[in-house]
């Protein structure tokens, strides 16, 4: 029983990590290629979730909604890139932080304007509903397994995209030398728009997938945005591999902390106190891990080349 619970929690940690990776991958890609720190990434996540909920409600098909989330987030990303973001590439991080902070306000309040203040309904597709038994685990939600699968596919896809395709070659060239790529005659502005839209689409996908599991509402992107930043900072900003490792570290730390800290503290204090103190510590745990990582590896675990 205990072993089964531990196994299930490990799987939960992995699954949370994969969800975070979907967010973090786009964020780190955008930083790696354009050097842009994008606080509005959480807003694109929200756009994806809303698009999915609205289309799923109108057509009755989650899968159409999922497609819509990709399209809507990519389109929103491209528009924002064209109107605002491209003016920020040459600015310092301070300006980027501020402008994208302003974008959060615009997106959140804009979404409320259009969709109202109440959470929207979005449910898991029937195909993936319910739980299945796994070796050592009594039952595990099929949808969560599917998320792990999607995360693995996205990781593989990004790897192939970056190492095997022309677009990937351009992305890598853009990372190492912006002027060189311009000299090669590649239209760098278009490249940047494409990369930004790609990162946005990933955020939108994450928003739709997670929205079905959690709740679709204004402001849903902010907590996950901060977690995604923790992920990419631990992993090394700009590194997809770092994002993957960082996401798994954060996912496992958070899940296992919530699961293990209260009983561990229960050994030294009354159970009721341990429950609250343990929960407080668990909430702080990932930030503590991040501070520790940065204290010893100031550029994260897999620093991208300077």
């Amino acid at each position: 029983m205990i072993l089964s619970l531990a196994l299930e929690q490990l799987l939960n940690g992995l699954q949370l990590g994969v969800m975070l990776f979907l967010m973090a991958a786009g964020l780190t890609l955008i930083f790696g290629v354009m050097g842009l720190i994008n606080l509005a990434h959480g807003s694109l996540y929200m756009v994806g979730a809303f698009a999915c909920a609205v289309v799923a409600a109108a057509t009755g098909s989650f899968w159409l909604g999922l497609a819509a989330s990709l399209v809507a987030a990519a389109a929103a990303g491209a528009i924002v890139e064209f109107l605002v973001i491209r003016k920020l590439y040459d600015r310092d991080h301070l300006d980027q932080v501020l402008a994208t902070f302003a974008l959060i306000l615009v997106f959140s309040e804009g979404a409320r304007w259009v969709f109202g203040s109440f959470p929207l309904y979005l449910d898991i597709p029937p195909l993936l509903a319910g739980a299945v038994p796994l070796p050592g685990i009594e039952a595990y939600p099929l949808y969560r397994l599917a998320i792990i699968g999607v995360g693995a596919l996205v990781a593989l896809g990004l790897y192939l995209l970056i190492s095997k395709t022309r677009l990937g070659m351009r992305i890598r060239a853009g990372e190492s030398d912006r002027e060189m790529i311009a000299a090669l005659g590649v239209d760098i502005r278009t490249l940047y728009t494409v990369v930004f839209a790609l990162g946005s689409a990933l955020a939108g996908l994450a928003g739709a997938l997670v929205g079905a599991l959690q709740s679709v509402q204004v402001g849903m992107g902010e907590p996950v945005l901060i977690l995604a930043f923790v992920v990419i900072v631990i992993g090394g900003i700009g590194s997809i591999k770092g994002a993957l490792v960082g996401a798994l570290i954060v996912g496992l730390t958070d899940t296992l902390g919530r699961f293990l800290l209260p009983p561990l503290l229960g050994l030294v204090m009354p159970a009721s106190t341990a429950a609250t103190v343990g929960a407080s510590l668990a909430a702080m745990l990932i930030y503590i891990v991040m501070a520790l990582v940065l204290a010893f590896r100031p550029r994260g675990l897999f620093p991208a080349k300077a």
């Binding site: 619970l5 949370l16 319910g130 739980a131 209260p262 668990a282």
Partner: protein
Amino acid sequence: MKTLLSAATLALSLSVSSLAVAEPIKVGLITTLSGGGAGLGVDTRDGFMLAIKQSGNTDITVITEDDAQKPELAVQIADKMIQSDQVDILTGIVWSNLLMAVAPSAVAQGKIYVSTNAAPAALAGEKCNPLYFNAAYQNDNLHEAVGEYANKDYKKIFIMAPNYPAGKDSLTGFKRYYKGELAAEVYTKVGQTDYAAEIAQIRASGADGVFAFLPGGMGIAFMKQYAQSGVKTPIMGPGFSFSQDVLPAIGDAALGVKNSGQWVKDLDNEANKKFVPAFQKEYGRLPSVYAVQAYDAAQLILSAAAKASVKDTKAFAAALKAADIQSPRGKFKFNNNLHPIQDIYITEVVKEDGVLTNKTVSKIFTDHGDAYAKDCKM
């Protein structure tokens, strides 16, 4: 010129009031109309304004402002309403933490505060105040009701709430009435949206029931994930986790959940039979409990205004305390700590004509007050 004019107005209003027509009352309604919690604030405002509109009373001016769920902003608005608009009564705040920022200082300045929702324990006991009224409940009430209900059918319950004061009050309230064994007591992160770890613990705990207090988006996320987990242990919770504002977003996952409320849509009384269709007609949606609470707060103010002058704070407070209203909840009166004494019901989430809503299962408490009233020396 302006002074002249206002002097004239003053003279006029004096002569009018001598004709025993109610004098103007200014009410400041501070609630959350933007940000994540705006749904509750919108219902609060709409419920309040419905009562004012129905009364046809034109002496009452309501100034509405958005606190964006930020305590600092709420304080600033309260200052403005008191100092600049010179309101007589404040009301409308949804959240305990905002209420704690505004209400103690407002009543210290001689203003009346009528709470439409938030009811922290801190203001119900020793620190109760003759100008602070709560038209909703005391925070613990709905948790206590579920605790009492759980005694009937459950032996070993898993209880869970967010790690903040309202969460701790919730579990304390539940435990005050629940006599069985606890499978575990778990506090989750405020704003947490993934509950896989907790659900796994529920599965492993061998509990025969789960009590969860997870308001707003937290509850939506938990319920959806729970429904997919394959865990069949029945869920119960306080009414605000399953009220009309969140049910559509949870979807069928909420069906059959037992919860508690001091008001249910199907309560059989005259006031309720008028209120629900009126609200639906006016705003095109079902009212939530927040709308009812605000509706009653407005009714209370209207009833007091008919009896006393708001400038005579003491008399006005006494008129409020009389609680001479027809509440959609049925019976309603104030305890010595100016929190309600009312009936509390166990309800169940059902689907009516494709819409999720609550229906009454049984009355669990009759004329229920709260545990803090005894500490209130009023």
